[in-house]
């Protein structure tokens, strides 16, 4: 069963996740070998060695959180970083799936994550007679406010479990969002593509109150000549 669908249903309402389903077909057919996977899907495997790919396959075959916990993570991460147009939020960034994977990749996080989720429901049930994922936003905030601000003068590991849990969830939510396609768009990062660096734009220099030293600039690459073969005189002066 597609766990992501139920998460999307909870957060976005029924039907909203349809577009995402195409990427999440249940794979039950014969598994291709690791080598076949690499050969036919180099793009998909992002330069993994066979051993690394095996580890990813192994982790993907394990399950850390049950369906209820995944839904709770989805709800909690969306309270931490509410979706905002046009770049969505944790669900569009696949933050719950990311946290599931990281929890398996870093087993030392598991107790804090699993225990924290149990604490959240226990506390919510005690206070409001309802599980966290079904509570109102107001109730959720009442629970989170006391644990969302850790004491910055004290080492985190000396603070209560629920504070450590929230700190971890916030970190994973924000990092998961901003390492996603929608998060990078929200941030506005312009790199990771071929281009020609030719210095800081004038308006940026002005904004930050710095300027280029003309003497320094004179030594820098003339990008209009980057394609011309380098030649030097005997003293090492570039001629081209």
């Amino acid at each position: 069963m597609d766990r992501r669908k139920s998460i999307q249903t909870i957060i976005l309402g029924a039907g909203a996740g349809a577009a995402g389903l195409a990427f999440n077909s249940c794979t039950t057919e014969e598994e291709p070998t690791v080598e076949e996977n690499i050969a036919k899907g180099a793009e998909k495997f992002f330069g993994r060695t066979p051993e690394e790919l095996e580890l990813i396959d192994k982790l993907n075959a394990e399950q850390l959180f049950n369906e209820h916990e995944m839904e709770t993570i989805a709800v909690l991460s969306s309270v931490i970083l509410p979706p905002k147009e046009p770049h969505g939020g944790p669900i569009e960034a696949e933050v719950p799936e990311f946290i599931e994977f990281i929890g398996k990749d870093f087993p030392e996080m598991q107790t804090t994550l699993l225990g924290g989720l149990m604490w959240l429901d226990h506390k919510c049930n005690t206070e409001f007679g309802v599980e966290f994922k079904s509570a109102t936003l107001e109730q959720q905030k009442q629970l989170l406010d006391p644990i969302a601000f850790h004491d910055i003068e004290m080492p985190l590991e000396e603070q209560s479990l629920e504070i450590q849990f929230f700190h971890m969830m916030r970190g994973l939510t924000v990092t998961g969002y901003y390492t996603s396609k929608v998060g990078i768009a929200d941030l506005g990062y312009k790199g990771n593509m071929p281009n020609v660096w030719d210095g800081v734009p004038e308006d940026i220099l002005e904004q930050h109150g710095v300027a280029y030293d003309p003497e320094w600039l004179a030594k820098c690459v003339d990008q209009s000549k980057r394609g011309i073969l380098a030649e030097w005189d005997e003293e090492g002066n570039l001629l081209t």
Binding site: T49, L144, Y178, G199, P201, W216, C220, G236
Partner: protein
């Protein structure tokens, strides 16, 4: 089980395919020799789509770049790491050494920082300079012609500054500084610390028809798919093959020992194939070790025979001695002047820094010998695992609450994006005989080969250098209007001095010299004891400088290769 021996007799067998092995392959194959390259790891080509990590986005991986399987994050090109399963190393109690190995064609050159600094005249004459360590049997004037040739063959950007111990070269033009680098230039100069354009081996301009020009993705640690950065496979070994050279590459082949005959001369190597876990022998007229300073020492020490009972080339008992790495300490800082940045432009630049500070100090006024250079980093980099995990930590500097949740976190992430800079000092440690690696007689790796045991301790010289680094970083941060992050490392933590090995500049284990009693090779990197074995990695370094070692490995490997060609011509070996 019988050891399988190939019938072919190679002119030269080269063990290892990194900077030293790659350069020897290029020079010796170009000279028409029949070359076998034996590499412990797999074949690697950064242009191979199946191995390429360049231009991948964090979301293409379920762990978004986390460092689970690769020490420097999962996009880093190096296969291997600080620990390799089935291939341990051990330590003498109370000592430390962290050993980074990369087993793949091209070795560690696939991910290195490309900081390509020549050693200067003083760097070859340490003992003359201050009484510490030993002088090299060669000087800058011996190496200069090779540095010049390396500059032109491989390509390095930089500027001729006329500095006494940071020699000029044949440079490509450097890229313009980024915003945080302008802040650094101002901050450092305020304290009289020089800042000049970096010297790094990426092509900012075309140098030949086989290699592309840098397209400024800032990802040289992923190894460049258009070969615009220097990696030994793509820039030396492939071109050697392409120009018709006889180069046979044996991958997944772990060399156990150098084999010798009755006269004690080398006859080739034996290796274990990782593919079938069987032992093989290759025959060669000359053996060139380039497995890295420590791995080559290990091979020599494991090559025991009737003629060489203490290990090959080890009649002096100096193999493994004088092991030393660069010193390293770092600090990061928050710079309020770099807050609220516009993300309207791409500032990836080349991988790493566009500016740096060569050593400027006057040791007569300092309490430690030698010096260090400062590397710095920062900028609006691509988010990866860990990005934004403390989204508003810097609120504390403004008396604002740290933590919370909600829409404000988005504003916090953007407000502070690109406002952190880091500084690293990389300095020269004094080479000492009592810092060494040796064979651990109690431990073997999964191939049955005895492993290395390390014995390394820093001295107060290195600690004082680290203290100087920390004081300097704080001063620069202050000049930049910033706030250093975390506690300033103090005496109890050796001032943040990293464990030996951490800078991955280990050298000195088979040092060169004129006296066979106190050195392993002669000044042409030929074993004193066996004239047809050479070492072209950083093992023969007498001392590390306040530089990085790769450019000198390349120059010296070329020089040793010229000597091998000449000696073969004269039928001396």
């Amino acid at each position: 089980m019988q050891i399988k021996e190939s019938s072919e007799l190679y002119d030269v067998i080269i063990v290892g395919s990194g900077a030293g092995g790659g350069m020897a392959t290029k020079q010796l194959a170009d000279a028409g020799l029949n070359v076998a390259v034996v590499e412990a790891g797999p074949f690697f080509d950064p242009a191979n789509p199946e191995q390429m990590t360049q231009l991948k986005w964090p979301y293409e991986s379920p762990r978004r770049g986390a460092a689970t399987t690769r020490a420097f994050g999962e996009w880093d090109a190096a296969y291997g790491g600080w620990e390799i399963e089935g291939e341990p190393y051990t330590h003498t109690e109370g000592t430390k050494f962290d050993w980074f190995r990369s087993h793949m064609l091209g070795g560690r050159t696939n991910h290195w920082g490309r900081i390509s600094l020549r050693f200067g005249p003083k760097d070859f004459k340490g003992k003359t300079r201050d009484g510490h360590g030993e002088d090299w049997p060669i000087g800058y004037e011996d190496v200069k012609p090779y540095y010049d040739k390396v500059d032109k063959l491989i390509g390095v950007f930089g500027t001729n500054e006329g500095l006494p111990d940071d020699p000029d070269g044949f440079f490509l033009p450097p890229p313009k500084p980024r915003l945080h680098e302008l802040f650094y230039i101002n901050g450092a100069r305020k304290s009289g610390i020089p800042v000049i354009p970096s010297r790094m081996s990426m092509l900012t301009k075309k140098i030949n028809k086989d290699r592309g020009v840098c397209f400024y993705c800032g990802q040289c640690s992923r190894s460049c798919s258009v070969y615009a950065d220097f990696s030994a496979g793509s820039c030396l070994i492939f071109p050697a093959q392409k120009s018709g050279g006889r180069v046979k590459i044996f991958v997944n082949s772990v060399v156990r020992e150098v084999t010798t005959n009755e006269e004690g001369k080398a006859t080739g190597v034996s290796y274990i194939s990782k593919d079938d876990r069987k032992e093989y022998r290759l025959k060669g007229k000359v053996v060139v070790l380039a497995a890295s300073a420590c791995s080559s020492a290990r091979i020599l020490l494991n090559s025991k025979s009737k003629q060489h009972p203490n290990g090959l080339g080890n009649s002096s008992d100096h193999v493994g001695k004088y092991l030393h790495d660069s010193t390293g300490a770092s600090r990061v800082a928050f710079i309020p002047g770099l807050m609220n940045r516009k993300t309207s432009y791409n500032e990836d630049g080349v991988g790493g820094m566009h500016v740096y500070s060569p050593w400027w100090g006057d040791n007569s006024k300092l309490d430690f010998p030698r010096g260090y250079h400062i590397e710095m980093w920062g900028g609006m980099g691509m988010p990866n695992y860990g990005f934004g995990s403390s989204p508003n930590e810097f609120n504390k500097f403004f008396g604002l609450q740290v933590g919370g949740y909600g829409d404000s976190l988005r504003d916090d992430v953007k407000k502070y994006y690109g406002s952190v800079v880091g500084f690293g000092g990389r300095g020269e440690a004094i080479a000492r005989k009592d810092n060494y690696c040796e064979i651990d007689p109690t431990t073997v790796d999964q191939f049955g080969i005895p492993v290395l045991k390390f014995n390394y301790k820093w001295s107060d010289f290195e600690r004082k250098q680290a203290k100087h680094m920390q004081d300097t970083f704080e001063e620069i941060v202050h000049n930049m209007g910033g706030e250093p992050l975390g506690e300033k490392p103090g005496k109890d933590s050796d001032y943040g001095l990293l464990a030996p090995g951490r800078i991955i500049h280990e050298v000195g284990t088979t040092r060169m010299g004129n006296d066979p009693k106190t050195s392993v090779t002669n000044k042409y990197q030929q074993l004193h004891d066996v004239d047809n074995v050479f070492i072209v990695d950083a093992g023969p370094f007498v001392s590390q400088a306040d530089k990085n070692c790769t450019w000198t490995i390349l120059a010296l490997s070329w020089r040793a290769s010229d000597y091998i060609i000449e000696q073969l011509k004269q039928q001396n070996i």
